[in-house]
Symmetry: C2
Subunit: 366 residues, 2 copies
Amino acid sequence: MKRRDILAAAGVGLAATALAGCKEEAKSSAAPQEGSSAQTFTWKMVTSWPKNFPGVGVGAERFAKLVDEMSNGRLKVKVYAAGELVPALEVFDAVSRGTAEMGHGAPYYWKGKVPAAQFFCALPFGPNAQEMNAWLHYGGGQALWEEVYKPFGVLPMACGNTGVQTAGWFNKEMNSVDDFKGLKMRTPGLGGEVLTKMGGTVVNMPAGEIFTAMQTGAIDATEWIGPYNDLALGLHKAAKYYYTPGWQEPSVLFELDINIKAWETLPADLKAIVRAAARDVNGDMLDDYNAKNMEALEQLKADGVEVRRLPDEVLARLKEVAGEVVEASAAADPAAAKVWEHQKAYLQRLYDYAEVADKDIYNIRG
Amino acid sequence: MKRRDILAAAGVGLAATALAGCKEEAKSSAAPQEGSSAQTFTWKMVTSWPKNFPGVGVGAERFAKLVDEMSNGRLKVKVYAAGELVPALEVFDAVSRGTAEMGHGAPYYWKGKVPAAQFFCALPFGPNAQEMNAWLHYGGGQALWEEVYKPFGVLPMACGNTGVQTAGWFNKEMNSVDDFKGLKMRTPGLGGEVLTKMGGTVVNMPAGEIFTAMQTGAIDATEWIGPYNDLALGLHKAAKYYYTPGWQEPSVLFELDINIKAWETLPADLKAIVRAAARDVNGDMLDDYNAKNMEALEQLKADGVEVRRLPDEVLARLKEVAGEVVEASAAADPAAAKVWEHQKAYLQRLYDYAEVADKDIYNIRG
């Protein structure tokens, strides 16, 4: 699920609603407070998600509920679905300019504005959720993230993860590298760039159009998120094969964006509450996805979906091309290059460690 | 790291200190509060950890600090190292009888009292941290855990994880199943039961004695936790080979114990704060261990440690024996049997899912 889909899935062009929501309701302009205060804050959190969107949307709601409960209502966070206040892809902008004090989205949605952002989100053949979290919280990633967002007046925090995704839905068998030639596939972002280099054609479209496009043959393939969200979209009724693994997104990290000026008006206890709520959701959403993806894949199999694995030869070529795409993407922007240089070196060390630890635990189950 | 080690590492027999700490300082006997209140609570948290113990001990301190900050000092949690108030292995008992309102330890430390507890902690060839969290938080595990602890007046919450451990330190090569015959190894718990069935001899001892026992040849092998904590203990100076993977503990989950009567006196906001702080630490400690284990293993290798993998043949036999040990352990107690029946079925579904998701992401990195 990427930029354009979210955009349309959530309904673009609700500019009137957005403007109406822009009136200054927030009471966050008071002087900074130490410790605590009886003052009540009413903040807006714009999101990139449709209302009640499973997994990530539910996680954003959980964040607001936790903050409300922990602060006993002193920090009310009103969650806006995409398009209610601002369009899905303008979450970062809205927080940056102070239209909303908070936002929840995927860092790579604003890579057009902040190219380095995608390195805090997802990388083809890149880190899983656990590795991304280790780099962010104990490997120096968080400091780099804050440095990159600071010029925009935004403080980022990790706030959720999809875990491992799938390679997507295909209406033909994918047996060799040649099968990508001429393939019309809905797959945005870096994955889309890889497809193009493999000889395919990227045809992006909003979520609501994917099902019909697959059924009519307008596209041959599509990726979305993973079994949990894919089942909800009904893609198994429009495609024959479900391919794994999700090489293009071994994990997708979601971010909480906070307007720094608003942040500075919060007393210390509310700051601590916001930080802990974000960390709670960061773990909880992953637990949710892991459980529900498992259940949904069982359901899909029961419904007759043929789950297949991309052949090794294909994965090897995809990895090669993905490496080129990531390097080119990093090289095109100085901040991205700096982040990637740091992240690449650190992740390689984690990958080496995983060989004798996490990876091997999966192997020995036999 | 298991029962007896912690016991002695932390200093047993500090009964005088324990008794001195038992005087009623806590202000938790007030009537239950809804929402919030200005009332200040001063709670004790007894732990199974020596002062400033890396990883898990630091995590317990983080929990107390988070609660203090979020509540602006309305809930002060004073952390006691093992032996300061009660011995390391009496944390659960102390919370159960109300000597302390909270405790932090590893569920399997009290398996003598609550045999089912170990199924919420660690299992040989069992779940990794991510899988244990999915089962607890979205698979029904938490409800079972609360049911098992309720008769003791204790509310448990997940609050930290070591991630993948190592198989341990050996002063001889482990090339075949026969190499376990006559092996004198410090390895407690279910791992120890497996060793005994393999023909070895379990020689348990506190942490402070392991180094000397290895150097003098009193034991041939030992396991402790993982690179981060093992390096701190200096085991690489007393053993030649460091074997992976940690089949006996693919993850160890730590628990926050709360006395239910004390819990019921907290207003809703403080309850929410405690819950979120526990979830924060549950993720944060794993990030800490993953980063530091990686760094420590690099250091150990640089110091000349020979890192080896147990042969497939050995791992296959260990798995077989471990399966028997776990089944026997579950069968010996009705509550344990109920928990294991549920957990076993759910984990198998997660393991099947991992084959096409998490496991395969490690494989395709090539």
